[in-house]
């Protein structure tokens, strides 16, 4: 077998979305309204893959669509909103109705939790939370005593996504990816997840810029121009505020379903035809053959 082909991970959005299974913990890269894997979310909603635990450092437009579509059972994030555009309407609604489970996170619980997974340990100690009500609403989170000073810290538990989806301005066919900043915890997600999917504005043979994500653990690479829109993908395109506002206004008028129909049926950005059949892929431990 041609080794170049063996290590090429480029595939279609359809094939990549099959790597997400009902019940998975799905981590979405980017920040609120920046570099979110929107095209991937569209594909996932089309497939109707549900019962998901949604993990996002901060959750925004793409996550609200998933929640609104009823595919999310549990949310883990430290901020779920649309920035200056206001609350995430479907998240707020479902949370207020008790229709989703929320595992309340903070910046530190996600950052240390991912670092614990990467270090191969069960927790990382942090200064935060003690004295707040976070420990009351997260009874699963325990304290640990510093064996030197006796001081108590929160033992932020290890977090491990099943699948991480990161949108990148640039990726190579072996899965190395350049993010151009606003990294959130994307590099950590791409190392911690069992299955890693990169959607990228451009997929090239060889990167000519420093990589942020090492392709070793990447399972699928999909070229999706404009794949983060209407969120931004710096420096390729800015935030499309008018579209975010259109979403907010639709939800304010009780027209989420109409917006979603429109979102799903819009031709939108499409993946370039795959150059190699999925069956030729054989990265270790991925799910393409399951």
């Amino acid at each position: 077998m041609d080794k170049t082909q063996l290590l090429d991970k480029q595939t279609t959005l359809t094939a990549a979305a099959q790597l997400v299974r009902p019940g998975d913990t799905l981590a979405l890269g980017g920040m609120t309204l920046y570099r979110r894997p929107v095209a991937f979310v569209r594909e996932l909603i089309r497939r109707g893959t549900g019962d998901l635990t949604l993990l996002a450092f901060t959750a925004g437009y793409e996550s609200d669509l998933l929640v609104g579509a009823g595919l999310v059972r549990q949310v883990r994030t430290c901020y779920f909103g649309l920035e200056i555009f206001g609350l995430a309407p479907m998240y707020s609604q479902r949370a207020e109705r008790g229709e989703i489970e929320i595992v309340e996170e903070t910046e530190a619980s996600i950052a240390f939790g991912l670092r614990a997974t990467l270090a191969g340990v069960g927790f990382m100690p942090g200064q935060g939370w003690i004295g707040t009500d976070l420990l009351r609403i997260r009874p699963d989170v325990k304290l640990v005593a510093d064996p030197y000073s006796g001081r108590r810290y929160v033992a932020f538990p290890a977090i491990k996504p099943d699948v991480a989806v990161i949108h990148a301005p640039l990726a190579s066919r072996v899965g190395d990816a350049v993010l151009h900043g606003n990294l959130a915890v994307d590099c950590q997600l791409a190392m911690a997840a069992d299955t890693v999917i990169i959607t990228a504005e451009r997929v090239v043979e060889k990167l000519d810029e420093p990589l942020d994500i090492i392709g070793l653990a990447v399972d699928a690479v999909v070229e999706v121009p404009h794949g983060a829109a209407p969120t931004s993908c710096w420096p390729d395109y800015p935030l499309d505020g008018a579209e975010i506002l259109r979403y907010v206004e639709a939800c304010a008028s009780g027209e989420f379903d109409a917006y979603l129909d429109d979102f799903l049926t819009s031709v939108g950005p499409r993946a370039r035809p795959t150059m190699f059949a999925v069956k030729n892929h054989e990265p270790t431990g991925n799910r393409l053959h399951n």
């Binding site: 920040m31 609120t32 920046y34 450092f57 901060t58 430290c78 901020y79 779920f80 909103g81 920035e83 200056i84 555009f85 206001g86 609350l87 995430a88 998240y91 707020s92 949370a95 207020e96 008790g98 309340e104 996170e105 903070t106 910046e107 530190a108 950052a111 240390f112 991912l114 670092r115 990382m124 942090g126 200064q127 935060g128 939370w129 003690i130 004295g131 707040t132 009500d133 976070l134 609403i137 001081r151 108590r152 900043g181 606003n182 990294l183 959130a184 915890v185 590099c187 950590q188 931004s232 710096w234 420096p235 800015p238 935030l239 499309d240 505020g241 008018a242 506002l245 206004e249 304010a252």
Partner: protein, 284 residues
């Protein structure tokens, strides 16, 4: 020095008061969706604090340069002008605890001692209103000595006797062996406050505002400074900088608006930014 402005908005006064809290050479951090704060930082940068350094939740970069406020191009400011780039795990696990930057948070609820809630109004499991979440407030208020607050709409909705769900520590909260420093400063649309006596403490009233009105809009007993001042108004130059240089689109106005009014203003700003961009592109 510049003359006092005769014409200014309350948003502009808030920006100016935030700017006055910044010392030259400091590291200041901007959270998500806080244009009043960013406008205040930029104003400090362009007036008395040319050597401040910026970091923002968006971008996670270290910057010494500045740029005007934007809706569509916020990443261009933080990524395009970055001197150094980090990721959020580094920021949370290392940079914030080490550098202890100055940051202005906007509490959704706050009690007299500065304990805050940004997660829910009401019962956690059956909330009246689910809020976005506390970001890192539960993490940094445990140790951070430079926490400031701003409240664009002073009311009993925000200032309450008891916070429904505490997600940020006020003065002396936390374990007795490591009491939290608590906030040091608060600016609202009615006045300025510190927490010197361990409780929210009115130190200046904005022009035209009475102590009675502030107390009436606060859900707990306010401490009042014996030497209570009137907040000095912005200078004409500060207002000019805000309107013409720092925020010509008027993004700073959004924080005091809600619902349909905010959406209408957003429409206007997005169109103006698009038009301005079209003009700029044509100029090139």
């Amino acid at each position: 020095m510049s003359q006092p402005a005769t014409d200014y908005t309350i948003d502009e006064l808030i920006c100016v008061c935030i700017a006055r809290q910044i010392e030259d050479g400091e590291l200041v951090v901007q959270g998500i969706a806080t244009p009043l704060v960013l406008a205040g930082y930029m104003l400090a940068r362009l007036t008395h604090a040319p050597h401040i350094a910026f970091a923002s939740a968006i971008g996670q970069t270290f910057c010494r340069d500045w740029g005007p406020l934007s809706i569509a191009h916020v990443e261009a400011l933080w990524l395009g002008k970055a001197l150094g780039r980090f990721d959020f795990a580094q920021a949370v696990c290392e940079l914030l605890p080490t550098y202890q930057p100055k940051e202005f948070f906007r509490p959704a609820q706050m009690d007299a001692r500065g304990n805050t809630g940004n997660i829910v109004f009401g019962d956690y499991h059956k909330p009246r209103l689910r809020l976005p979440g506390c970001g890192g407030i539960a993490d940094v208020t445990v140790y951070e000595e430079h926490v400031c607050f701003y409240v664009p709409r002073h009311s009993r909705v925000t200032f309450v006797e008891q916070v429904d769900l505490v997600s940020g520590l006020g003065v002396g909260a936390g374990p007795p062996e490591h009491p939290a420093p608590g906030p040091t400063y608060l600016i609202s649309d009615l006045g300025q406050f510190d927490f010197a006596p361990g409780r929210m403490h009115l130190t200046s009233v904005h022009p035209g505002v009475t102590v009675e009105r502030i107390q009436a809009k606060t859900g707990f007993r306010l401490e009042i400074a014996p030497d209570l001042q009137e907040t000095p108004p912005p200078t004409a130059e500060e207002v000019r900088l805000l309107r013409e240089v720092i925020d010509p689109l008027g993004i700073r106005d959004l924080e005091r608006l809600s619902g349909a009014r905010r959406r209408a203003k957003l429409h206007e700003i997005i169109e103006r930014e698009q038009d301005a961009r079209t003009v700029n592109i044509k100029r090139q």
